[in-house]
């Protein structure tokens, strides 16, 4: 019993966020398959729970994992409210909480035990706001889904873009439950900006892109830019040619040209019937690495605080590129790449063409 190291992995495995859960679970299992399940003499055990993206369920599951299963680390968390709901438990029980998906900036501030290996939306949005004005885009309409991450993306893009001399004539917010993007896109078309900046949860990205094409907006001279969620690697291939040429900023592309990534993608696809890993998967994969490294370093001694200390400041080469867990903010620092959708070997890929190095979460610099 004493020789077991338990990781409580709480993810949305059903419902609309289910893909997030699937990607992360697959990545975590891949990591364990690649690196063994005995570290520092301890057997690592992964306990998977489905929280259906309902925060109070997440919280109860976390509480039960901590109290009954005595897990050493809590990990996962598909959506921000779920992560926030569990933060007090991490604090109270001194259990490190590794956020592998949720991307709102403020999560790491909710508890000193939160460590994030995914990304924050401001990171991606700000990078785009820096790139766009340098590439002839002066006038941008934003279109985001009306919830935490969307508002983050809108706020950070807008302020940085305007700081860089750009103009945002209209900031559109799409309700979370929204079957048809037509009115919003028509509005954009009538406003005729240089580009449309989009953030929507990954599933809806395809719809936006198709309707963007259908409405002939590209032909009207409007470019489509956004954070990488829109051209989610997982689905990019199915989106078809409408996606070609879309420029996004993100921390990970399955096409990232590094040896580490090639191996990661190959192994991942082999283990999962050809499913392509996306940015969620890499968050889960790196999260497992952070936990493993911390366990190695502490040898499993000293409880949660020691573990947490060992997580802070880790630097490593991830499939996404170099990653640094900022000891101060416990948030991830990584490169943000600018990518364009292109066809390579008959498949669509986010091909990186520019990089902004070591981006800290701009949300933390206020």
């Amino acid at each position: 019993q004493d020789n077991v190291f338990k990781i409580g992995l709480i993810l949305p495995m059903t419902g609309q966020q289910a893909t997030t859960g699937r990607q992360i679970e697959a990545a975590a299992r891949l990591w364990m398959a690649q690196n063994g399940d005995t570290i520092a003499g301890k057997k690592v055990q992964l306990i998977l729970k489905d929280d259906t993206s309902v925060p109070d369920v997440t919280r109860r599951l976390a509480q039960e994992l901590v109290v009954n299963e005595k897990v050493n680390v809590l990990a996962g968390f598909g959506i921000t409210p779920s992560a926030l709901a569990v933060a007090p438990i991490a604090t109270q029980s001194k259990t490190p909480l590794v956020v592998m998906a949720a991307a709102t900036s403020s999560i790491t501030e909710a508890s000193p035990y939160v460590v994030r290996t995914s990304f924050t939306l401001p990171q991606a949005a700000v990078a785009m706001a820096d790139w766009a004005p340098k590439n002839g885009i002066k006038n941008v309409v934003t279109l985001v889904t009306d919830y935490g991450p969307g508002l983050d993306a809108e706020r950070f893009f807008k302020s940085r873009f305007e700081f860089n001399g750009g103009k945002v004539p209209e900031a559109l917010r799409v309700p979370l439950r929204n079957p048809d993007f037509a009115p919003f896109l028509q509005k954009v078309r009538d406003l005729k900006p240089d580009a449309l900046f989009v953030f929507v949860p990954s599933g809806a990205g395809a719809a936006v892109m198709k309707q963007f094409g259908e409405r002939g907006m590209d032909k009207a001279g409007i470019r489509l830019i956004g954070t990488g969620d829109v051209t989610d690697d997982d689905q990019l291939n199915d989106m078809g040619d409408v996606a070609l040429g879309v420029v996004t900023s993100h921390h990970y592309s399955a096409y990232h040209p590094s040896a580490a990534n090639k191996k990661f993608v190959a192994d991942f696809q082999k283990a999962n019937k050809g499913m392509r890993p996306n940015f969620m998967a890499v968050g889960g994969y790196d999260g497992m690495r952070v936990i493993y490294e911390a366990l190695k370093k502490t040898g499993g001694k000293g409880g949660g605080d020691a573990l947490l200390a060992a997580m802070k400041g880790q630097i490593f080469e991830s499939p996404r590129g170099p990653v640094f867990i900022d000891a101060q903010t416990r948030d991830v620092v990584h490169n943000i790449y600018l990518r364009k959708v292109e066809k390579k070997d008959g498949q669509l890929h986010n091909v990186e063409f520019d990089v902004i190095k070591d981006v800290k979460d701009p949300g933390k610099t206020k």
Partner: protein, 287 residues
């Protein structure tokens, strides 16, 4: 703005095809079938999978989606639904929600939980501009299909005796049978037809609304809104309701984007408070 009106009509028409099958099963058969979306999803997946894996042309997929969903509906009607007609509505809710849960998990298991994206044929992808009116070809196509469907349905229900025989069977199965109506056949064909319509709706809607295993739950509310506002006793009711909601939703989101999410719900509540039995109820009294 004509374009907004056009988009609203197309969206409304789409809602209509998706919901009209429910108007048939729920309104005419008086069965609360919350699993309607599951039949729509079936149609959607049939189309997407046939197109992706077997390269079946889109136009061939549509009737196949209808038939597939209708067949599934017929099989389920014979095996599971039939004993439930006489159960209380709440039991029907429980049962059909159970079916939805099962269908969601089953699709997830066999196809996976990712969004399915459909590739339309080229001729449906384009767009025609006439002055300030821009019409997407796919939306034009939806409108055409729905219009044809409405006319057909209206004909079946109004000009043939099928409609009144169906309603008679629903009102009183025992006596309807005693008057020579083959109640089982009437129910079976109606249910299969309603499910088929759902399947067709799902096939048409997958492009615009997206398709993943949570489809039946995600859009259940919209189907219900259309049927509730339209009233459950005719085909024109849900059609007008769907158009009204579609146009109001699209126009509302265009002109006052901030209020986007409220408009449909507020409109529904106001209409239902004003006309508790739906906007377009069947009224007697005219000799």
């Amino acid at each position: 703005m004509l374009t907004i009106l056009f988009d609203g009509i197309a969206y409304g028409m789409l809602l209509f095809v998706l919901a009209v099958g429910l108007a048939v099963t729920m309104g005419l058969m008086n069965f609360i079938n919350l699993a309607h979306g599951a039949f729509a999803m079936t149609g959607g997946y049939i189309t997407v999978l046939l197109m992706q894996r077997l390269d079946v042309p889109f136009l061939v997929c549509l009737p196949l989606a209808f038939l597939g969903a209708a067949l599934l509906g017929a099989v389920l009607e014979r095996t599971l639904y039939r004993p439930l007609y006489r159960k209380p509505h709440l039991d029907q809710v429980l049962f059909s929600i159970g079916l939805v849960f099962m269908s969601v998990a089953a699709v997830d298991y066999y196809v996976g939980s990712t969004q399915q994206i459909m590739q339309l044929p080229e001729w449906l992808k384009g767009r025609t501009e006439i002055g300030s009116l821009g019409m997407g070809h796919y939306r034009l196509f939806i409108i055409a299909v729905c219009a044809a469907l409405t006319v057909g349905l209206q004909f079946i229900l109004a000009k043939t005796r099928f409609g009144s025989r169906l309603r008679a069977s629903v009102d009183d199965q025992r006596v309807a049978a005693g008057m020579g109506i083959n109640v089982n056949v009437v129910f079976l064909s109606t249910f299969a037809f309603g499910s088929g319509l759902a399947g067709l709706g799902g096939a048409l809607g997958a492009e615009v609304l997206g398709l993943d295993p949570s489809f039946p739950l995600k859009f259940m509310i919209y189907f219900l809104i259309v049927v509730a506002v339209g009233g459950t006793s005719s085909i024109t009711g849900p059609l007008l309701a769907a158009l009204l909601l579609g146009i109001a939703d699209v126009a509302g989101k265009y002109y006052i984007p901030r209020m986007g999410a409220f408009i449909v719900y507020a409109l529904m509540i106001v209409i239902l408070l004003w006309r508790p039995n739906g906007l377009f109820v069947r009224q007697g009294g005219k000799a």
